[in-house]
Amino acid sequence: MRFSPKKFFVSNSFTRKLHKGYLYVFLLPSLGFIVVFFLIPVILTFLIGLTKMDYSFRWDWIGLGNYIYILRDKWAYKILGNTLFYVFTTLAFFNVGMALFISIATTHINDKIGSIFRSIWLLPRITPSTVYALLWLWAARGEANSLFNWLTSIFGLHPIDWKLTYPWLLVILVNGFVGTSFGMIIFTAALKSIPEDYIRAAKVDGASTLQIIRYVELPLIKWPLLFVTAYQTLSLLTSYEYILLVTDGGPGLYTTEVWALYSYHLAFAQYGGIVKFGYGAALATILVIIGLIMSVIYWKVFRFRELMVEPKIEV
């Protein structure tokens, strides 16, 4: 059925025009960018992780010294625990949980109203991070007239400083409200592509809405569910921008510090300017390796390619 380029090349008299010379015009710029600013940095990250580089920019090789230090680093364990807690809580409650709820709820109500709700959930995602963080910081302020305290005062509660009292709650809310949209869109698309007949048949059999969701819809979106979970795990694991903006790892010592933020802090945020590029890069290397492994897994397991080729899903 499909046009075969190979046949075309052999048989067509316009072969000259299809000369591969153009190929490089098309491809090289992008490849250049990707090699210099993607592949080389990956290699450099590994290499810097083997040194104790600081602002002297000297390559003082110390082998696996940094990795041994990670094992001895008292705070690394706390931060690892924080990271796992952050990733799984945000994932469970928002990136998958809330996303699933929103997409199921909005596909079972009036379609127009449903899509309005989904649009609203898209807003945090496209809002610049600094503005978005600012909104939450304002809402969570300790003053009695801040949004949270104003709301809780309706129930007669005293004003508190939310950032200091419940830092994790704030971190998870901030990230969760951004993170929901990805899963929401994918789930909604998957739900909408379920043939009407399946639902109708279940209804005829006397299934309730909840039963339809549980026994018809959920099994059918198993793959998207798995995909979103895996994909967002990696995203959350390496994300730190919002935490940096909202709590900066505080309050207290590394209370909400996550692995990626720790690496950032060591490399770029030292009060005395005594940075640790080497140690920071070693921490980052661990994330890079996890990232590479998971990317390969997506590619193998989730037939990523198909998902990518057909992004034309209208929600």
Binding site: Y55, S56, F57, R72, K74, W75, G142, L164, T247, G250, P251, G252, L253, T255, F268, A269, Q270, Y271, G272, G273, I274, V275
Partner: protein
Amino acid sequence: MRRGQLNLISIALLIIGLIIGGVIGYLLAPRPAPPEEGKLQALMQENEELRAKVNELLQKLKPGEIKVTVWTIGPDPPSEYRLKNFFIAADMLNSWLKMLGANVTIKVEGEFYVRPVEWGEYKNKFYLAYKAGEAPDIYLTGHEDIGFLAENGYIIPLDDYLEEYWDVIYYDIFPTLWDAVKYKGKIWAVPQDTEARPMYFRKDVLRALGWSEEEINELPKKIQSGEFTLYDLLKLAQEAKDAGLVERGVLHRVKEGYDYFQFYLGFGGKLWNPETGKMVFVKSAWEKTLKWFYDAVYEYNVISPNQFSGDWDKDFHLPFTQGKALFLSGGTWHKGEWIQKGLLTEDEFYDNIGYALHPAGEPSMKPVTLSHPLVYTITGLAKDRGVADVAFLLITLVTDPHINSYHSVQSAHLAILRSQVSDTRYMQDQFLHDVAYMLDYTTFIPNHPKWGDYSRIVYNILRAVETGDLGPEEAYNTLLDEIQSTLGDAVEILP
């Protein structure tokens, strides 16, 4: 090369110009007795020679503009004269050049960083910009960085310049400040300012506690004599808090910094050994310091467990200026900020706020304060660009009692020059006069390339103590362990 020559020439011109001026002034000044015939002759001749030299140099001089870049930081906005003084200096220089008929102008370009840019970011920017060749010619930094900067070729030694121009102004700088800018036997920077870190207290709260005016005024002296200790401070703060007079007892800075070392010093700690050049860790002093912080938060409830994560305004400036806290461990420059920001008027400040040294830890110990002189350095890039000479000339001009006082008075920093103390602006400032004695009790931070690590480890541990993540003993063990494993030989452990 051409640039470098140009600069040298312009400097020479200036110096010559100044000498001519001096000679002329000397000649014109009325004198009781006319100088001897021969001497006058000699002076006249010297004058002529200098004139000829100037003209010769002027002819060689290529017209143009010499640009010098300066980076400075507050981060407190009132310290803006750290940069502005260079504009004043450049104006002076340009008018002199014009008087001499030189077709050369000096242009100063610079940045003055204020918060939210903090020291860490400022230093990052310098190092990174240096690598990119975009760092300034003159770089203001804390003296403790000199070791690192010098070791890695970021700055140039200034001994030759200082020797040559010592008599112009540099002899006037307090000798202790020169100690702060020496590293491995050379001088690497020129002091810009210094300060003390007082323990501020609210007089009105003490009045409400029933203290007489006399008792209140005695407090700084009691602290100075070591009679009033850090634990007395906790007790007093607790008393005020229990009486409902204040919401918070003691405030300290909310972000990383060096101020915390004052408590360690108060408990008999030492920061470095000038003989070996190594940093010092006094075990007993750290043990007591950590215990004190723990007690302050959990026994006396006068420091908030989240003080380290607080906001500069909400958890530091405002509670104190509004009288909702009794003590504030601050710096002289905070007075400048309160006045400049309009949080307090001068009258309100003197009426309600007192200031003393940081108390001694125990009665047998000494009260302390900490100074952190900021210094101007000349970067290696300035040398490459051939403007190091002009840069030094500008630094020489801003190191002037009158010009430096613009800065010290507005921002409440202390004098660096002996003659500055009698500068009219400086003299009028009551506060600067009152705190001057504190410099007798001060300590500098070590000029050690690894100082930043020491400071960071201490900060982390103190933060963990306040938040309750670590108990005082556990914290002490962790601190000792981290200091030893990270700094190794660079630090001497004393009992």
